[in-house]
Symmetry: C2
Subunit: 419 residues, 2 copies
């Protein structure tokens, strides 16, 4: 590494239909199950010799080039895949929308008037456009799952702590994961098996698939309608093993308990996420006073103003919920819910100036995505539906912590049998 | 936060017998089980308003003050503890010795001619000197456990992923943990229950305590001798539930398998650790060309020169070993081994100029500490013995991933009954 700053072509954000911040070519270093596949990497993940720009020009200009490829990238190159670019991310990963103030909005080819979702916006867009076979994203509070759902591609958030985050910019480490977006369930499973170094266990039958009542209730009517057909398919595939389950039941008691609805889960998730984001990025924000777009500026102000005396209780609540989920969810059980409560928002309707729309969208979206975060659970968004007024709709399956291989084999089976 | 750089008193390393890089006072923010207890924090962990120096003057001079207390620190303050200082760490946490080239060697009061161990050297020293009730350290490859053993204090490395690392400088995230050093088993358990947000499960009986044959074989004769009495005590306390177990058995087959001895485990651990350290710190090293002491300089050269094409295989081996340990170790089982293979080395005998001593000490020490790292296991070092020629000797118990509360309750029981 010679220390000079290399910039990928098109770092101004004009390359390749705006999914890419730049093109580059990194050859495979080995051969394996990913031979012949091309991939792109969210610009929050290191490629040696390039500055990891994190979706913000001030960040890019105040950081040196990465010294090496991130560990997760090395795994993919070793398995035979070819890296062809870095993709647009929301600023510092701090959004679920994909409308980057500086680099633009990567296109959502299945719904051109709607946002791609973020923060792994360019990765989802590049896969949806067919520019790559798969892409790496990161997912703290939904940043792989939401764009997967919005763009109609397959997306995995793995169990926390099983894919290396070395060489990935920290955001909220308690929830940070490296995830995968792919054009097919088969490619999703192959790539994930490389990253997770899964063994080749025999395919196992799901025992119970729990449809999370509160999650379906929270979703828009058109999302529920869109998911009727995929749910019928799950029913025909797995017979009587689908059942409706409420969070109350998971919490082990009737409604009196806190945590009996999403409000308390969301609050717990939020306090920890805000606290950790400020721990990871606050020193840089205070030192450099970076230029931010309006949504990122607002978010960092909120992270800074958190009363950190709330952290102790939030950790206790989180671990309490985690233990309840762990007790409830057997190794062959799954949870099922909509990936997001709404189809992808129309462009420009939700961000910092979105007012009531933002107030409605964010808490509901984060309520659904917080379940995997709090539970340390793996989750796959399956692109099986489309809303009545257009726009893809993802259905999510979640498994117990560490049961990623079981989850992915079940997802493959659903994909192979869905017309 | 006003962005000015505050330095704790005595940042030159001359304060409080060299255990502290500086004194400061951070009042509790709540009341709870840690009321009345004082603690110190390794200078790799953020205290808001102070530069986290990471044991290296160039690092200190090239980084802004922390924007907030680390999440783990907030938890302790919320539970009533008072923070009274930041402690010396080996440079960027990159040593097991505790001989910082710039800040000196924190004293080991139980063995003044020997190193305290690192990298949480000042934290162990402060506890051993009685300056605080407990201290936070970090443990990637032994950095809490080794100084706990060397200094004769209680030390926990928790299960990976259960104590927040937000506001803790990343080193090798796949293995990074925040651990605790304490003057008694009871304080260790109290502090850990706050950090882990454990529930108050009834005390459970250990089922089998596996003495790891290869670990005892690897240790010096005087370590084995020193541990005879503690092992007799475990035997009397837990009856026939102690048994000798070889890593071959844990690997599920006879000696043919790779991983049948520590060599392959150590190699797997080493490749991943070196790769991740370079991912986390390489860009800064290349950009700034920092002044390092000889041991840190040598270590970073090695991290930089790693052939990263080895990463893919190392991740596969790691997850294979992890799964074998997970299958082998039941929820009420424990592993038992010496914390380190030798009593604390004499000062100045092992570091960069240590030659054959370093070549002998490091691979053996890391072989023992890598078991918890690879297995994502919690481990406690119990200060129950002293070597025939002086110097404390720690005995370690390890439990299954996520079984920290069970491990700590067993440790408390051992402590209460040991004469």
């Amino acid at each position: 590494m010679d220390g000079r700053r290399r910039e990928a072509n098109g770092a101004s954000g004009t390359a390749k239909d705006h999914a890419f911040v730049g093109n580059l070519e990194v050859d495979p270093t080995g051969s394996g199950v990913l031979g012949g596949l091309s991939f792109a990497v969210k610009d929050l993940i290191d490629i040696g010799g390039y500055v990891t720009g994190c979706g913000n020009p001030t960040w890019r200009d105040t950081h040196p080039p990465a010294a090496a490829n991130a560990v997760c990238v090395e795994q993919l190159l070793d398995a035979g895949a070819r890296c062809v670019g870095k993709t647009v991310t929301d600023e510092l990963a701090f959004s679920l929308l994909g409308e980057n103030y500086f680099y633009g909005t990567p296109p959502n080819p299945r719904a051109p008037d709607r946002v791609p979702g973020g923060s792994s916006s360019g990765s989802a867009s590049a896969v949806a456009q067919g520019l790559v076979d798969f892409a790496l994203g990161t997912d703290t509070g939904g940043s792989v799952r939401v764009p997967a759902s919005n763009c109609g591609v397959w997306g995995l958030r793995p169990s926390h702590g099983f894919v290396s985050v070395a060489g990935v910019n920290p955001f909220a480490p308690t929830f940070d994961t490296v995830g995968v977006l792919a054009k097919s369930a088969e490619i999703l499973a192959s790539v994930s098996s490389v990253l997770l170094a899964s063994d080749d266990d025999a395919v196992e039958e799901p025992r119970t698939i729990h449809l999370v009542e509160e999650a379906f209730t929270l979703a828009d009517t058109e999302v529920r309608q869109a998911l009727e057909e995929p749910l019928r398919h799950l029913g025909s595939l797995f017979g009587g093993r689908l059942r409706e389950t409420s969070l109350r039941e998971i919490n082990g008691e009737a409604g009196a308990l806190k945590g009996a609805d999403f409000g308390a889960w969301l609050d717990t998730y939020g306090v920890l996420q805000w606290a950790e984001i400020w721990s990871c990025l606050g020193a840089w924000v205070e030192e450099v006073n970076p230029a931010f777009g309006p949504e990122a500026a607002q978010n960092f102000d909120l992270a800074k103003s958190l009363d950190r005396r709330r952290v102790g209780l939030a950790v206790r609540s989180r671990e309490e919920y985690f233990r309840k989920l762990r007790s409830f969810l057997g190794p062959n059980d799954l949870l099922c819910m909509p990936t997001t409560p709404a189809t992808a928002p129309l462009k420009g309707t939700v961000g910092a100036r979105g007012g009531a729309n933002a107030a409605s969208y964010y808490p509901r979206a984060l309520s659904l995505t917080a379940v995997a975060g709090i539970g340390r659970l793996p989750q796959v968004s399956l692109p099986l539906a489309e809303g009545p007024s257009g726009g893809p709709v993802g259905l999510s399956l979640l498994a117990a912590n560490g049961r990623d291989a079981f989850l992915l084999s079940t997802v493959k089976r659903v994909a192979e049998t869905y017309a």
